[in-house]
Symmetry: C2
């Protein structure tokens, strides 16, 4: 059976478990005197084999305040691990990232609060999530979470970061707690019509997102606020197709070979020349994608699809058009002949004017810019230093991201 086979591949073995426990025990030793706690999927027992970070949260009194975490707390923590291989990373506030025997260990400073709803930063809420999940998931449930996570990864809907806008680990856990099994979660998801409401408790305010799961530890918050309509739909569609015909492709999709170029495809390679936090970068990437799509459409181009991939060093925005060639002139629709106030102005500003069969005035206008690369170059913007390289796709040399962009259909769909 598919799911058993998947579990065999994703359920960690004792060797891995012992190794991670030993690493953690060393790290915790270094944190003596602090109120430190292991969080994350390892603690909750829902991590996937060979695919986890370790999260250790260090709690400071609420009174020291958010600012203390950013400056002093980090310095304190660094002093405990100065002989480790470490870097300082940035999310909502900075944290310490250790590399221990190839395993990433994140040491995250947080404020100690009495309940999830008192959290000042997102990190303060984490121990309450950990508690809720460990209290509601038994061993069987943990495997169900693993299946769901692997499924979401396989279809490309896993991850709450802005780049993905999909399902977080916590949301995966909440879904299994709510629907009990992987199969049942898929059965429910296959029937979803947005807005989808998954309620442990009533929400403490109104949500607007397509997937609405009031956080059981803080019902003012939508635990699934990151999930976009696209990723919700992707999960729902994949659920239906999996239930119809289960296959390993959902969990471990093969990279398809696909090299048929349809339409004209412009690859915009953006080389970042400054260090940027991923979430900040991808916020900008998707805003640029929207902007480019709107501007090209407004200028008369027919956009088939725009997407982006890559990392914070080099990323690619791929723009697929029905055609990069467009007429120099276009039809301009004016007022009706009896809209006298607008007509003077229309006649003054236009040439080649006539009255159409519907009684409207029309004219022919000239497009100012018909070169897609120029339009893209002058409209892309990032808050960080970057360099652009643009190229029209002529042949496909096996880049899997480009091949996925060309093929579009997920392997499990068609």
């Amino acid at each position: 059976m598919i799911e058993e086979e998947v579990l065999k591949r994703i359920k960690p073995d004792d060797v891995e478990r012992h190794k991670l426990e030993k690493i953690l025990s060393n790290v915790m030793d270094r944190l003596k005197g602090y109120e430190a706690e292991v969080e994350g999927s390892f603690r909750k027992g829902t991590w996937l084999k060979g695919d986890t970070d370790l999260d250790v949260f260090v709690f400071f009194p609420k009174e020291v305040g958010k600012e203390y975490l950013k400056e002093m707390a980090i310095k304190e923590l660094v002093s405990r691990f100065s002989d480790y291989n470490y870097t300082i990373a940035y999310a909502e506030h900075p944290y310490l990232m250790l590399d221990v025997e190839g395993v990433e260990v994140d040491i995250v400073p947080a404020l100690k609060v009495l309940s999830g709803s008192e959290a000042v930063t997102a990190a303060d809420r984490t121990p309450f999530h950990t508690r809720f999940v460990t209290q509601h998931l038994d061993e069987k449930g943990k495997d169900e979470v693993r299946l769901l996570k692997r499924f979401l990864k396989g279809i490309g809907a896993y991850g709450a970061e802005i780049k993905v806008q999909g399902f977080s680990g916590y949301v995966s856990e909440l879904l299994i707690i709510h629907y009990e099994t992987f199969k049942n979660t898929l059965a429910e998801a296959s029937k979803w019509v947005p807005p989808v409401k998954v309620y442990f408790t009533e929400p403490a305010r109104e949500f607007t997102e397509p997937l609405q799961i009031p956080d059981p530890v803080d019902p003012r918050r939508n635990a699934a606020s990151a999930v976009s309509m696209e990723k919700l739909g992707l999960f729902s569609l994949a659920s239906r197709y999996y239930l119809k015909e289960p296959s390993m492709e959902f969990f471990f999709p093969k990279e398809p070979h696909y090299d048929k170029i349809k339409g004209d495809i412009l690859l915009v390679n953006v080389i970042l020349e400054e260090n940027v936090v991923e979430d900040i970068l991808w916020g900008q990437v998707w805003r640029n994608v929207d902007k480019i799509r709107n501007i090209l459409t407004e200028r008369g181009f027919r956009v088939i699809d725009i997407s982006a991939w890559g990392n914070n060093e080099k990323l690619t925005i791929a723009i697929q058009l029905e055609s990069k060639d467009i007429g120099k002139y276009y039809l301009n629709i004016g007022p009706y002949f009896y809209q006298w106030e607008s007509i003077d102005n229309f006649v003054r500003k236009n040439e080649n004017i006539w009255i159409g069969r519907d009684g409207r005035l029309y004219s022919i206008k000239e497009r100012k810019e018909t070169d897609v690369t120029e339009i893209v170059k002058s409209n892309l913007s990032f808050k960080h230093k970057f360099k652009l390289e643009l190229e029209w796709v002529k042949e496909v040399k096996g880049d899997p991201c480009l091949m996925r962009f060309l093929r579009k259909s997920p392997p499990w769909l068609k």
Copy 2:
């Protein structure tokens, strides 16, 4: 003053009047024994200098019926004019067309009825129109009609035939009878918002056309039913511009020289190989124009304008596109991910499928036909034998119709 100058050019002189009267008197002599009557603009005194046919109607008892007019009546009439230069022409039913000293004299058989509302054919109604107009127009009024007719001719809105879909002579006369002067008619027309109602009497049924003038001799009929929204708008717009700045251009427009080709223009020359009545032909032409516009738009082309000109031997349909080049592939919009009933079918029929940011499924489709000339050739249809010659406009060799099509703006507008 402009209007006086125009009148000088369009008001017939005594030489012309005497010549036409002499022709008519000879024709009437030949019709002795019939109940014959002169109708038309000559009889009403509203014809333009050097620009008239003569209309003689011959009335048969109502009891002989419509069919008699088509067959026997024509034969009878022909026998009276067999030594004339004549042809048999066709409108609603056949009539005799004489060429007398370069003047066209139409001998039209009609049924004698007691009132306009009892008319069996349009011709039967004509004497009542003649009576109404002669009773309501004085000498001054006739000149006002002449100015209006010349104005309508100048702007291209004169003629109720299907080719033009504009204002008939009778509608011009009714407008002057209603609004009294040329200037006042323009002042009213410049304020028109469709549907425009010009009432001598209440209509005897509901009209749907943009200009509604219940025929005073038969109020079930809209005397202005031929006037299209386009020609109504053209007249209204021209009226406003004339009142702002009167000029001879409205009455006697100069043919502009214009040779700038914007977009891609396909000329479809249709050579008719059978004789076709103009109204029948132009009904087909405009249906073809609409069909070609719809099909090209549906196939993804951007149509700037389509028009047609010519006669029943050779006519030209001009198709102006933003570009004749179009991508081989296009974006196809599918159902939302939760419209399960439609999705199976969509997935089966499509390839390159993905879920968009709005939760809809999209795919890429291939255009079956991207050659405009092929699309046009396989979609044009006439009920008569014809031959096609298609050519993309590369240079303009001074054809005034083509130059007008290229320029579009009437000379009085811009």
